[in-house]
Amino acid sequence: MQLTEYLREQKAEKKILLMTHLVLGYPSFEVNREVIRQMVDNGVDLIEMQIPFSEPMADGPVILKANQAAIENGAKVRDCLDLAAEITAAHPIPFLFMTYYNILFKYGVAKFFRKAAAIGIRGFIVPDLPPEEGEEFLALAKEYGIAPIMIYAPTSTEKRMRELAKPGDGFIYCVARRGVTGRKTEFDRDFGDYMARCRRATDLPLAVGFGIGSRQDVDSLIGQADIAVIGTKTIRLVDEQGPAAVGPFIAGLR
């Protein structure tokens, strides 16, 4: 089943879906396993697994630090792929890769797709790869049936959004605000306008990320978005309280 359809089905049953994020290898693959188990057990609908990169340009300080710590701890791309294979086999929900383009490029983009497909990865989020630069990437995504997740930003015009929707699949990742991951977002009037613009531009489900960390945040997205994305918040939680805190936190979000 395609990712989009899966999401539509799930959405039919829930007011809003939850996507969580984690950085592979941070603080360790061991902890990754536990965190993912807690997430899945507590009803997360899909998970983006970030393969660490040394130059995570679009990430804020928490995720940046996680990327660099993972690499320093020796997390190799190969190890990330191995863990991902283990995880997708163990859990029934869809998993996506989030990473920067150089990781694919250096691995070999086609080879990377082949590997990801073999593992059962359902989508790629690559924040530094606009469709203009993604010809090969988009072709391979189609070939391997892996959803290339397009990104909207508050600075995107409606025209631009429509263009982005075309090659997009799975869902659209709507960046909630200017800036990098990890800072608080205000879900105000401007935000509502922005979401309305997103909605007009595409039929794909809309995920909203950047700065979502509480039930209140999630609630305020209901009706405006299909998926709430929890990123930095769980990394901080694991840093501060360990993986066991993730389950209760997720359970309390909706």
């Binding site: 990169f53 040394s54 130059e55 995570p56 340009m57 679009a58 804020g60 300080p61 940046l64 630090k65 660099q68 690499i71 190799k76 791309v77 920067y100 383009y101 150089n102 990781i103 490029f105 250096k106 691995y107 924040p127 530094d128 790869l129 606009p130 203009e132 630069e133 397009m150 990104i151 909207y152 930003a153 508050p154 600075t155 995107s156 015009t157 631009r160 982005l164 960046v175 200017r178 800036g179 990098v180």
Partner: protein, 410 residues
Amino acid sequence: MDKKGYYGQWGGAFIPEVLYETFRELGRAFEEARSDPDFWPEYLRLMSSYSCRPTPLTHAANLSDHFGGAGIYIKREDLNHTGAHKANNVMGQGLLVKRMGKKRVIAETGAGQHGVATATMAAKFGFACTIYMGEEDVARQRPNVFWMEKLGATVIPVTSGSRTLKDAINEAFRDWVTSMDDTHYVMGTVCGPHPFPEMVAWFQSIIGREARRQILAAHGRLPARVFACVGGGSNAMGIFQGFLDDPEVELIGVEAGGHGIETGQHAARLAGDDGSAGVAQGYKTMFLQDSDGQMRDTHSVAAGLDYVGVSPILSDLWEKKRVRFTAATDREVMAALELTMRKEGIIPALESAHAFVQAFKEAPAMSRGEALIINMSGRGDKDIFTIADAFKDPSWKQFIIDKGRQYAAD
């Protein structure tokens, strides 16, 4: 140029969606400026009244005699306001910012030269200014930090990654994705996403335009070879553009050989075999990276050359064999610096001294009727802490020890 923003297979604009409109606007402003017949003259006027352009081409008679081969000419970018070629780029972008109506500029800096130049431009144009600088570079280049702050800029030490130039670039982008509405990112070299390489190369082409005219006047014909150091590649592209269409002029880029290419502690992306194609910091080029695509730590005595990437335009010219690349080691650099000071009374920046090294290697075997140009991208005053360190100057050390004790006692 091939595909928009590409040079052969290199370049592009690998940018987050949030910056899409910003880049469109920047590209438009740049194209408009470039096709506005008044813009370049305005730029020239600024550079000749605020900086000291045209900068001279100095005939280094003593060095020429010393090596007994080619006539050695030095293009004097050190005589620019703020002491390096960085001013050319920064002032040009300043004019663009004014056109775009933005009120704030941000920049990354490694050696601090680009930071000082940007802070200077911001003061001149009345912009707010934030400079990102790796924490390690902040420590290494305190004098430049001091000047940036005095010029009114806020200097933010970057504590992520290797805490050097590349991390400062990432951090500047992180600022920009928040602040793009009123802020322009003044990229310091011919790197980064399109249109930066093209834009910076255009502003820096002022070096090559002058140098071509000057060498013809001084030497009567074109030089046989032109040498430039290559960090990001802006000073090299600047002078090379004066001679790209002259196949008889050989162009040589000199990268940081650090402790020697064989040691792995260097910043040679195109010379040697350690670089490989990659995409980072918004563009595709040859990077120093591991097999996973993680960027490696680099080393050079010259902070301005200590960078993992290189201009996509230079990667293309390298691939097409139009520019030859070599590397100079830290040790060779100190020797060339010393010789140049003694023989000509000229103190090149550590970065620039890399170009001198290679020119000195090649001059003796060239014929007396030939000329070579070395692009002296900046002056060495800024490097006094590094140079005094490298020469292990005892009186300098004592001076600093005494000064430190005096401060500690305050």
